[in-house]
């Protein structure tokens, strides 16, 4: 089978990799370019653990044909932190004890990130809707919803300070 050369932006860096026809994005991210931050929970589009952003919009990487991201911008939770400085969402998850086993966390963070990019000051209902495609077995969801709301507040505060 002929492999295809694929180039895309991964968390602001160029990524280039050869992919098999029909390869899905989660495999290419994890095995092809070695970004282990997105997780594969179900491999069939029902758990949300593999959520990544493609051109800023959340997608399930397990259901995305890798070749469709040619030339596009892919973001994973591995790119959230700025060097040693965690993203406000990561900090809020940590401080709010919003992760236990952590398997859902990468997907939750990216779903939340997409929401806050779109709606900087979301209501509780909007947060719930944004993560309703992401399953969590451990936390009971409440700490996650609270953490996303806390991060939104924190980011609003930062924005105000920068003005």
């Amino acid at each position: 089978m002929a492999r295809t050369a694929l180039t895309f932006t991964l968390n602001d860096a160029e990524a280039a990799v050869f992919v098999d026809p029909g390869a899905n994005l989660i495999d290419v991210l994890r095995r092809g370019v070695g970004d282990l931050s997105p997780k594969q929970g179900c491999a069939q589009g029902s758990c949300g653990a593999c959520t990544v952003l493609i051109d800023g919009v959340p997608h399930l990487a397990c259901l995305t044909l890798a070749e469709t991201v040619e030339g596009r911008r892919v973001e994973t939770s591995g790119g959230l932190a700025d060097g040693p400085d965690l993203h406000p969402l990561q900090k809020a998850f940590m401080e709010g004890f919003a992760a236990q086993c952590g398997f859902c966390t990468a997907g939750m963070l990216m779903a939340a990130r997409a929401l806050l990019d779109r709606v900087p000051n979301p209501s509780r209902e909007e947060v719930i809707e944004a993560i309703s495609g992401n399953l969590c077995r451990c936390t009971g969801y409440e700490p996650i919803v609270d953490a996303i709301l806390a991060a939104a507040q924190e980011m609003q505060g930062n924005r105000r300070m920068m003005r």
Binding site: F97, Q100, S132, E142
Partner: protein, 340 residues
């Protein structure tokens, strides 16, 4: 057709660790040349926080800052033997093994420091901030890092400890049947408020109030996190989760997460928790661990609340709308049991 409110109560005495004992846990502790301590375990942290708690226990016992302790639970091939993370045994069994291993490492740490300071080890104490000093003379001190380096590069000794905790397997007295099933119990009581729709059979849990007695809460935030997440799982087991088909034909059974029903973020139930601390004598720093009983009492409390609401007694799980509707039909309608 109406919505009926119901309230249900359940209490639990939860035995910590394997019933009848016989479940050893081991821990190994050693120092590294930069004055940190490694704890090697084979018990696995599945997200309950066992790594955090054993880290706290080791740091407290050795007398060093918690940042200077690392816990490695990586590999059951190469690590010391452990029965595993189940039966709410992590904090109690593994924590006790860690205390023993850490106490031996502390003894060796103080002996090595005594040699450097030319004093008796029994005259030394740690300050919990990375220093070892002569009791009553804080000026005469040496850092843990210096001690660790002296031990390894000058004195040629290890600062290490081995720990095992075993509650021996309890036998049964052939005459009386007497045995010792468990050494340490945790306790909880829980009240569920819910609503049952007698037209659809749907149940909505509206509130959980609980009191948990888990010994000393070694890490209160982790305890709370466990109790909240566990109660969610309890509601999920009580009302939704099953691998059995809801209808007679097996092909109707769940094949993936789209059919295996669980409550989502839109069905969060407010949960008010009171954590009561009664440190247990044989538990590490008194901590028993919340473990499985985060979820257990939720199930009978939900069943009791459904009965209280509409008079239908469901004795199989999950309590589906179908079972409630069949019960209502058999009873000739809802029979609210009255406010409790």
């Amino acid at each position: 057709m109406a919505i009926h409110k119901g309230r249900g109560f359940a209490a639990i005495n939860y035995p910590i660790g394997m019933n009848l004992g016989g479940d050893p846990a081991q821990a190994l502790v050693h120092s590294t040349p930069d004055g940190k301590f490694m704890v090697a375990l084979s018990a696995i942290d599945l997200g309950q926080g066992m790594k955090s708690v054993t880290r706290q226990i080791a740091a407290e016992t050795i007398g060093v800052p918690v940042e200077d302790v690392y816990v490695d639970t990586a590999d059951s091939d190469t690590g010391p033997h452990d029965m595993g993370s189940f039966a709410s045994r992590g904090t109690h069994r593994v924590g006790n093994a860690v205390i023993r291993a850490a106490a031996e490492a502390r003894k060796q740490l103080l002996e090595a420091a005594a040699e450097e300071l030319e004093v008796n080890a029994s005259d030394l104490d740690t300050d919990g901030r990375g220093n070892i000093h002569v009791k009553g003379a804080p000026g005469r001190s040496i850092t843990v890092m210096e001690t660790s380096q002296a031990a390894q590069f000058k004195q040629g000794r290890t600062l290490a400890g081995r720990g095992i905790f075993l509650i021996p397997l309890s036998g049964t007295d052939p005459d009386t049947g007497e045995m010792t099933p468990v050494s340490c119990f945790a306790h909880a009581a829980l009240v569920i408020d819910l609503e049952v729709d007698d037209e659809t059979g749907e149940v909505e849990v509206t509130q959980i109030n609980s009191a948990y007695e888990v010994g000393r809460a070694l890490n209160p935030r982790l305890v709370e996190q466990q109790l909240i997440g566990g109660a969610w799982m309890g509601v999920s087991h009580a009302l939704y989760e099953t691998t059995e088909p809801y209808y007679p034909d097996r092909s109707h059974g769940p094949v993936d997460f789209n059919h295996y029903v669980m409550p989502g973020p839109g069905q969060i139930v407010p949960h008010h928790i009171a954590v009561l601390e009664r440190p247990a004598e044989d538990a590490p720093f008194g901590g028993k661990g919340p473990g499985e009983m985060c979820a257990n009492p939720v199930l009978p409390a939900v069943a009791n609340a459904v009965y209280n609401a509409v008079g239908v007694r469901c004795d199989t799980l999950p309590i589906t709308p179908e079972k409630i509707l069949r019960g209502l039909r058999a009873n000739g309608g809802a029979r609210p049991q009255g406010r409790r």
